[in-house]
C-alpha cells in the first residue's frame, strides 16, 4: 500500500443526512484519490413492501423534503402504470402544472440560496458574503425581495393544487382528487406570469454578473471542472425537455443519441454498482459498462442534471427558454457542453421554461374541467414511472400483488445518477487545487465545494449559509495517523492553523 495521509472534510452540508470527503495524499503531497461518502440509508426500497400502491406518492415523498414532489410524481405515474389506467387529460395537466411550479421554486432556491452565491458573489469573495444575504447585497434589496416573493408565490401555487408545498397530496391512480376552480386558475395564472418574469430576471442577472466576468467564464470553461460524460434527460416526442413525461434519452460525449428508452425498458440500460465505503449506489450505463470513476465514451458513467437535460434534448418546448438555450450553446461552443459549472446557467434556462410551461397549462381551457379521475378497473401488477427530478432522472419501479399491495420496489433516484460524476468532479477539483508545496487555503476549500455544489445534490435543504459561510475543518494526519495540523475556516472566513503542539 502506498504511504498516504488523509484529509477529511466533514461534514459537507446540504446533504440529506451527511456526506464527507476523504482526500488521500501521497508522500509528495499530491492527491492520489478522493472518496465521497454518503453515510445515510433508510431503506425505502424494503419497507415499502406491503404498502398499497396508491399510498406511494405520500410515502416516497418522505425520501426528500426538498424535492418531495418529484418522488410524488414518479410514484403516481408508476401507480397509474401498475393499474394500467390512463388519467383524463385534465388530470395530467393539473399534475404537470403543479410540477412545473415546484420546479421554479426548487431551481430558484438552488440558484439564489444554495449554489448560486458562489457565482453571484464570487468564488474568491469573502466567505461571509457567499450566501443569500451576500446575494441580496450584491443584487440589491429590490431584486432580493423579488426572490423571496417568487419563492412564496410558487409555494402558494403548489399548495393551491396539492394542499401544501412540502409533501403535497392530491394525486390518485387514474387522476387527481380535486379540480381547479376558475378562481384558483386565475391566481395560478398570475403566479405563473410572475415566474416567467422571474426567470428572465434571473437569466439577466446571470448574464450581468457571471457571463460578463472573464474570471468566472474562465473558471466555467476550465479543465478542472470539465468531464466528458454521457448525458441523460427526459424528452417529449420532438426531443424537447419535459419534466413530467416522455422518454429517457441518452447522448454520448459527442452529443449523438446513444439510446432512447421508455420507462419499461430502464433495466436494459441502467445498472447500479455497490462500493463498501458508501451507502449510496453508483448507476452506470449497462451497455457501455463500468470502467471505474472515469469519463469518456468508453465509460458507462453518465450525468443527469439540468446541463445533461439540455445536452440530451434538441431544444426547449417554450419560446423564451428556447432563445436562451440557443444563446447558451452559442456562447459555450456548441453541443454538448461538458463544463460542470455551466449547470448553473442551464438550471436557470429550465427555471424559465418551467414558468412558461406552468403559464401554458394555467391558460389551458381544459385545466378547470371536472373530469379528473378514471377509476382503475384492471388488476394491478407492475409499472414504472419516470420523471425528471430537479437533480436528475428519477425512476420508480413497482411490482404489486393482485390487490395493489407492493411486493417489490426499485428506485433510481435523481442525485444517485450523479454519484460517480460527483466523486470524479470532487477528485479532479482536489487534484487541481491541492498541489505539493502549496499552502492549503480557504480558496482551495471553496473550489472543492463548488465542484460538488453544481450538481445541487438532493440531500440538502433549500438554504445556504445565513450569516457567515461554510466553516470547514481540515485535519492533516501523518503516516502513523497522528494529527499534525488542524486548518479551520470559521463562519467569518478567518482561516486559522493550529499545529499539534498547540492542540
Amino acid at each position: 500500500m502506498t504511504q498516504t495521509t488523509k484529509i477529511r472534510i466533514d461534514p459537507i452540508t446540504r446533504l440529506e443526512g451527511h456526506g464527507s470527503i476523504n482526500i488521500f495524499l501521497d508522500k509528495a503531497g499530491k492527491v492520489v484519490k478522493t472518496y465521497f461518502q454518503i453515510p445515510e440509508l433508510r431503506g425505502f426500497e424494503k419497507f415499502c413492501e406491503g404498502r398499497p400502491v396508491e399510498e406511494m406518492p405520500r410515502i416516497t415523498q418522505r425520501i426528500c423534503g426538498v424535492c418531495p414532489t418529484a418522488h410524488h410524481m414518479a410514484a403516481i405515474k408508476a401507480a397509474d402504470a401498475v393499474y394500467h389506467v390512463d388519467p383524463p387529460p385534465t388530470a395530467k395537466k393539473i399534475r404537470e402544472m403543479m410540477y412545473n411550479f415546484f420546479f421554479v421554486a426548487d431551481h430558484a432556491t438552488h440558484f439564489y440560496i444554495l449554489g448560486g452565491p458562489d457565482f453571484v458573489v464570487g468564488p474568491d469573495a469573502p466567505p461571509a458574503e457567499r450566501n443569500i444575504f451576500g446575494v441580496i447585497a450584491k443584487v440589491g434589496l429590490d431584486i432580493g425581495s423579488k426572490v423571496i416573493q417568487a419563492l412564496q408565490d410558487t409555494h402558494e401555487a403548489v399548495a393551491i393544487i396539492g394542499g401544501r408545498y412540502i409533501n403535497p397530496v392530491g394525486t390518485l391512480p387514474g387522476g387527481v382528487s380535486k379540480p381547479i376552480s376558475e378562481e384558483e386558475r386565475a391566481r395560478l395564472e398570475q403566479i405563473a406570469r410572475g415566474c416567467v418574469e422571474f426567470g428572465q430576471l434571473s437569466l439577466k442577472l446571470f448574464e450581468d454578473i457571471v457571463l460578463k466576468n472573464k474570471q468566472y467564464v474562465a473558471m466555467i470553461k476550465s479543465d478542472a471542472f470539465t468531464h466528458r460524460t454521457y448525458y441523460m434527460g427526459l424528452v417529449d416526442e420532438q426531443n424537447r425537455t419535459n419534466f413530467y413525461d416522455g422518454k429517457v434519452r441518452v447522448v454520448d460525449p459527442d452529443g449523438k443519441e446513444f439510446v432512447k428508452y421508455g420507462p419499461n425498458e430502464y433495466l436494459q440500460h441502467i445498472a447500479e454498482r455497490v462500493e463498501p465505503w458508501t451507502y449510496l449506489k453508483f448507476p452506470y450505463l449497462k451497455n457501455v459498462g463500468w470502467k471505474g470513476f472515469v469519463d469518456g465514451k468508453d465509460s458507462g458513467v453518465y450525468r443527469a442534471t439540468p446541463l445533461s437535460r439540455c445536452n440530451a434534448a434538441d431544444g426547449m418546448a417554450t419560446p423564451l427558454a428556447q432563445a436562451h438555450y440557443e444563446r447558451f450553446y452559442h456562447a459555450l461552443g456548441g453541443k454538448p457542453v461538458h463544463a460542470t459549472l455551466a449547470t448553473h446557467w442551464a438550471r436557470l434556462i429550465e427555471l424559465l421554461y418551467s414558468g412558461e410551461r406552468a403559464l401554458e397549462l394555467a391558460c389551458d381551457p381544459e385545466i378547470t374541467s371536472t373530469n379528473i379521475r378514471t377509476i382503475p378497473t384492471a388488476t394491478p401488477d407492475e409499472g414504472v414511472g419516470i420523471v425528471e427530478a430537479p437533480r436528475g432522472t428519477l425512476t420508480h419501479h413497482y411490482i404489486t400483488d393482485e390487490r395493489g399491495l407492493l411486493r417489490k420496489v426499485n428506485l433510481v433516484v435523481g442525485t444517485t445518477n450523479n454519484h460517480a460524476p460527483i466523486c470524479m468532479s470532487v477528485q479532479k477539483a482536489a487534484q487541481g487545487v491541492i498541489q505539493p508545496g502549496k499552502p492549503v487555503t480557504q480558496g482551495l476549500l471553496n473550489q472543492v465545494e463548488m465542484a460538488f455544489r453544481a450538481y445541487d445534490p438532493c440531500f440538502g435543504c433549500a438554504t445556504h449559509a445565513m450569516p457567515g459561510q461554510m466553516p470547514l475543518t481540515i485535519k492533516l494526519h501523518d503516516e502513523d495517523g497522528r494529527l499534525i495540523t488542524v486548518l479551520s475556516r470559521d463562519e467569518n472566513g478567518r482561516v486559522t492553523t493550529r499545529n499539534a503542539e498547540e492542540l
Binding site: M1, T4, P11, T13, R14, E16, G17, H18, K33, Y35, Q37, P39, E40, L41, G43, K46, F47, G50, R51, P52, E54, E55, R58, R62, I63, G65, V66, I148, L151, I161, G163, R164, Y165, N167, V169, G170, S177, K178, I270, A271, E272, R273, V274, E275, P276, W277, Y279, K281, K286, W290, I375, N410, G460, C461, T463, M466, P467, P471, L472, S488
Partner: protein, 325 residues
C-alpha cells in the same frame, strides 16, 4: 461564541429528509426576525458549522436545540447525545424525531433484509460479489469509516431525554413560527408538552359534513369518487383524522385526500394506531360483514401507524419479543 443577549439556537437533522429544515425556512420573512433575536450556532442544512465546533462548546451552551430526524445510525445517536449535553433545552422537531415517522415503517423489517434488498436484490443492482457497505473498510489508499446502520428506527426521545416535541411531517409554517416566537419570548409551557399543535383531533378542524352514516364497506381512495363535502370515514374511506392531533389546518382534506396522521396522536393517547382502530371499527353498519370489513383494511400497520409506529405500544411489544429471542 455569542457575547450578546441573543438566544443561542441549534437546528440539526439526524435520519431526516430535510423537510423539517425547509419548514424552518418556510417561515419566510420571519427568518429575519429569527436572525435578529437568535444566533444559530449549528445548522448543517443551512450553515456549515462542524461537529468540532459543537464539541468545543461548554455544556448547556446552546439554549434550544431543534432536533429533527430519527435515530437510525451510530452517527445520529452520537450527535443526539452530543447536542443533548451542549443544550439546555432539546426539542424533538417534526414527526421523525417525535415518533419515527414514515421511515419508522422500516421496523417492519430487520436490518439484514433491508441491506440485502437495497444492495443485492434490486433488479438494477449489479453486485456479483455481494458487496454490502461496511462500517470499516480498507481501500488501497487507507481506511474509510461509515456510521453503523442500526437494527431499528427510534424517535430521538428514546435515545436522549427531550423537553418538548413539535409534531408534523413537516410542522406547518404558521405553527413553526409560533413555536419559535414562544422560544424567543421565553414563554414555554411546562416540560413535556407538545408545542405547535392543538390537543384534540383533526375532526375539530374539519369542515366536512358528518350525518351519522355508518360504514358498510371500507374502500380505498382511488376506488371511488368521494363526495368532497362529506366526512371520509362516513364514505368508507379510512381517514386518520379522528386519532390525529389537530393543528395543521387540514391541507390534505381540503384538496380531497384523507388524513394519514402526520401530526401524531392527540393529547393523552399513547398508541395512535390502536385508538384509530378502536374508532373506525366502532362505526360499522350493523348489517355489514365484519370479516369483509377487516380484509378491506389492506395494510393495517402501514395505514393506522403510518407516522407513529416507532413510538407505539405495538413497537414496544415487538422489541420485547425480539429481545427474548
Amino acid at each position: 461564541m455569542a457575547k450578546n443577549n441573543k438566544l443561542k439556537i441549534a437546528i440539526y437533522w439526524a435520519a431526516s429528509c430535510g423537510g423539517c429544515d425547509v419548514a424552518v425556512v418556510e417561515i419566510g420573512h420571519n427568518l429575519l426576525k429569527l436572525k435578529e433575536a437568535a444566533d444559530i450556532l449549528f445548522w448543517p442544512a443551512a450553515m456549515d458549522f462542524k461537529y468540532s465546533d459543537v464539541e468545543a462548546m461548554p455544556d448547556k451552551h446552546i439554549d434550544v436545540c431543534l432536533f429533527n430526524g430519527s435515530v437510525r445510525t451510530s452517527e445520529n445517536e452520537h450527535i443526539a447525545k452530543l447536542l443533548r449535553a451542549k443544550s439546555k433545552v432539546m426539542v424533538a422537531f417534526g414527526s421523525c424525531a417525535y415518533e419515527g415517522c414514515i421511515p419508522g415503517l422500516a421496523n417492519l423489517y430487520n436490518r439484514g433484509d433491508i441491506l440485502t434488498r437495497v444492495y443485492q436484490e434490486t433488479p438494477s443492482t449489479e453486485n456479483p460479489d455481494g458487496v454490502i457497505p461496511q462500517p470499516h473498510c480498507k481501500v488501497p489508499e487507507g481506511d474509510l469509516d461509515l456510521p453503523e446502520f442500526y437494527e431499528s428506527v427510534k424517535p430521538v426521545g428514546m435515545v436522549v431525554p427531550v423537553e418538548y416535541s413539535v409534531p408534523g411531517c413537516p410542522p406547518v409554517a404558521s405553527q413553526v413560527w409560533g413555536v419559535l416566537e414562544a422560544i424567543i419570548a421565553g414563554k414555554l409551557p411546562p416540560v413535556g408538552a407538545v408545542l405547535g399543535a392543538g390537543d384534540r383531533n383533526l375532526c375539530e378542524e374539519c369542515e366536512r359534513v358528518r350525518d351519522g352514516t355508518k360504514v358498510k364497506q371500507f374502500v380505498r381512495p382511488h376506488e371511488v369518487i368521494a363526495d368532497p363535502k362529506k366526512c371520509f370515514l362516513e364514505q368508507g374511506i379510512v381517514c386518520s383524522g379522528p386519532a390525529t392531533r389537530a393543528g395543521c389546518g387540514r391541507p390534505c382534506i381540503r384538496v380531497g385526500m384523507p388524513c394519514r396522521g402526520c401530526y401524531g396522536p392527540p393529547e393523552g393517547v399513547k398508541d395512535q394506531g390502536a385508538k384509530l382502530l378502536s374508532a373506525i371499527m366502532a362505526v360499522i353498519d350493523p348489517e355489514a360483514d365484519v370479516e369483509q370489513l377487516v380484509s378491506q383494511i389492506v395494510d393495517p400497520v402501514g395505514t393506522l401507524y403510518r407516522f407513529s409506529l416507532s413510538d407505539s405500544l405495538l413497537q414496544q411489544i415487538k422489541w420485547q419479543e425480539a429481545e427474548k429471542k
